[in-house]
């Protein structure tokens, strides 16, 4: 590990998250175009690899994006891992650079609102209940029972994240809600309301990772990826050994913190994968931000003090969830935070940040630690 090249983030581009009906190639190009327009000093001839993160069924998207963006990379391929495709792509880019196979990698993620990645067809043990709202309902019921948590306490996740999304110009939501609004929103199941859920949407996000040697030639405001943790416990929801914690998140978080030589108390700002409201407190507990059963207390304190430490861009619930772009958008947010470039969402004196991105009922998690 010690012989690996250091890897930094030097540039990013992002689109608004919407319900637009556009071809995936067009969606994908938009954030990459935005990236290069905002960073004219980056020479596209220097890009060694182009990695595309998506669940879309279109083929050969990396060579297609490369051609549309005027890049002829050595390495070009797509990466799919449902909802954490984005951070999986960033880990792949990191690995190419750390190993010396590449010095500069473009990672571009995109999704359409009608993504096939929303349903894991293979998981037949879910019976007729393959839509994510069903595993989320079972998680919610189990978490509420185990720790005596109310629906109103979970609703505050949505209230907080919609409030924070209002400061994010790319978020799909520009509305704020009360706990009562969330409670009165359409009841999808006994344990889940419409406003408890993130929304599939159309959007893209792009990021450039480079080796330390290359960073020095381009920018002095790079953000470094200092910790990576990943864990896959299964593919099927019913193999989860706990329904009120995230075992893959625990393992990934511990690995990422260990690699970065940090403790959870060192984290100043974090993006948490709140696919559903119940996911935020469970993830906070599994990562060690709060004690078991106390995640909603932490969320209430953050909300009451207008502290944007957790999910400053509004999380998936407030920002929208274009699956292949989500992990990259989360990483962009933490990069902006560490560069003191997050406008009204800025967390004071943020030096160390964390990204938590997961797939399919937390059967797989990726955690990144980023530093100035």
């Amino acid at each position: 590990m010690n012989n690996m090249n250091k890897v930094g983030i030097i540039a990013y581009g992002i689109t608004p998250f919407t319900k637009e009906d556009k071809k995936i190639e067009s969606v994908l190009l938009k954030s990459t175009k935005n990236l290069f327009e905002n960073n004219p000093n980056i020479d596209r001839n220097d890009i060694d690899a182009v990695l595309v993160s998506t669940n879309n069924n279109s083929k050969y998207l990396s060579p297609i994006l490369s051609e549309m963006a005027g890049i002829q990379p050595k390495i070009a391929h797509s990466i799919e891992s449902l909802c954490n495709s984005g951070t999986n792509s960033i880990v792949s880019a990191y690995s190419y650079i750390a190993s010396g196979l590449a010095d500069m990698v473009l990672v571009a993620g995109a999704e359409r609102y009608d993504s096939p990645g929303q349903i894991l067809e293979w998981d037949n043990s879910r019976g007729e209940f393959k839509h994510p709202i069903f595993w989320a309902s079972i998680f919610a019921k189990s978490y509420k029972r185990e720790y005596s948590i109310s629906d109103e306490q979970l609703a505050l996740v949505s209230v907080k994240n919609h409030k924070q999304a209002k400061e994010n110009p790319n978020a799909i939501s520009d509305k704020t809600y009360t706990i009562q609004d969330v409670m009165n929103s359409k009841k999808l199941t006994e344990d889940l309301r419409l406003l408890d859920c993130s929304r599939p949407c159309t959007g893209s996000a792009s990021i450039i990772l480079v080796s330390e040697e290359k960073v020095k030639k381009i920018t002095d405001t790079s953000v470094w990826i200092t910790g990576i943790g990943q864990k896959t416990t299964s593919a099927g929801f019913t193999k989860n050994t706990s329904l009120s914690s995230m075992e893959s998140t625990k393992a990934a978080g511990q690995s990422a913190l260990k690699m970065s030589n940090k403790d959870i108390t060192n984290i100043d700002v974090a993006e948490i994968h709140d696919a559903f409201s119940v996911c935020e407190p469970i993830a906070l507990e599994s990562l060690g931000f709060s004690k078991l059963g106390k995640g909603t207390d932490m969320i209430k304190e953050l909300y009451d003090t207008n502290n944007f430490k957790i999910n400053p861009r509004g999380g998936l619930i407030g920002s929208g969830h274009p699956l292949g772009a989500t992990g990259i958008a989360q990483t962009i947010e933490i990069t902006q935070q560490l560069q003191s470039n997050a406008d009204k969402r800025q967390v004071d004196d943020a030096k160390v940040g964390l990204v938590h991105n997961m797939s399919a009922a937390a059967t797989s998690s990726t955690v990144l630690v980023l530093e100035k």
């Binding site: 037949n124 043990s125 019976g127 007729e128 189990s142 329904l243």
Partner: protein
């Protein structure tokens, strides 16, 4: 016959490795422990409800069999955690497995 062939006829079988005797779930041709061949054990299996929720007026529950197999099934009565149930109906519809317990 495969697990799915039996299931489509309304029979729920437990897939088991003929070499190491472990239950293989989800059903597969080969054991995920030793890659041994999987056989299907027929029976009238009893499971227990691990968790449940409700959509509209219908309850759905996570049911565990033999400490290993877990499925999501429909149940017509009000479920309770730990309640013992049996599969009353199963099949395949539009590519999805269907399970009913009571």
């Amino acid at each position: 016959m495969s697990f799915e062939s039996y299931l489509s006829r309304g029979d729920f079988c437990i897939p088991e490795c003929i070499s190491c005797k472990r239950i293989v779930w989800p059903p597969s041709e080969f054991c995920n422990h030793c890659f041994g061949i999987v056989s299907l054990r027929k029976g009238d299996f009893e499971g227990k409800i691990v968790e449940f929720s409700k959509q509209n007026d219908e309850y759905f529950c996570l049911v565990e069999f033999e400490n290993t197999i877990r499925i999501i099934a429909k149940i017509s009565m009000i479920p309770e955690i730990g309640q013992k149930v049996k599969i009353s109906k199963c099949g395949i519809s539009n590519g999805n497995y269907l399970f009913y317990v009571n």
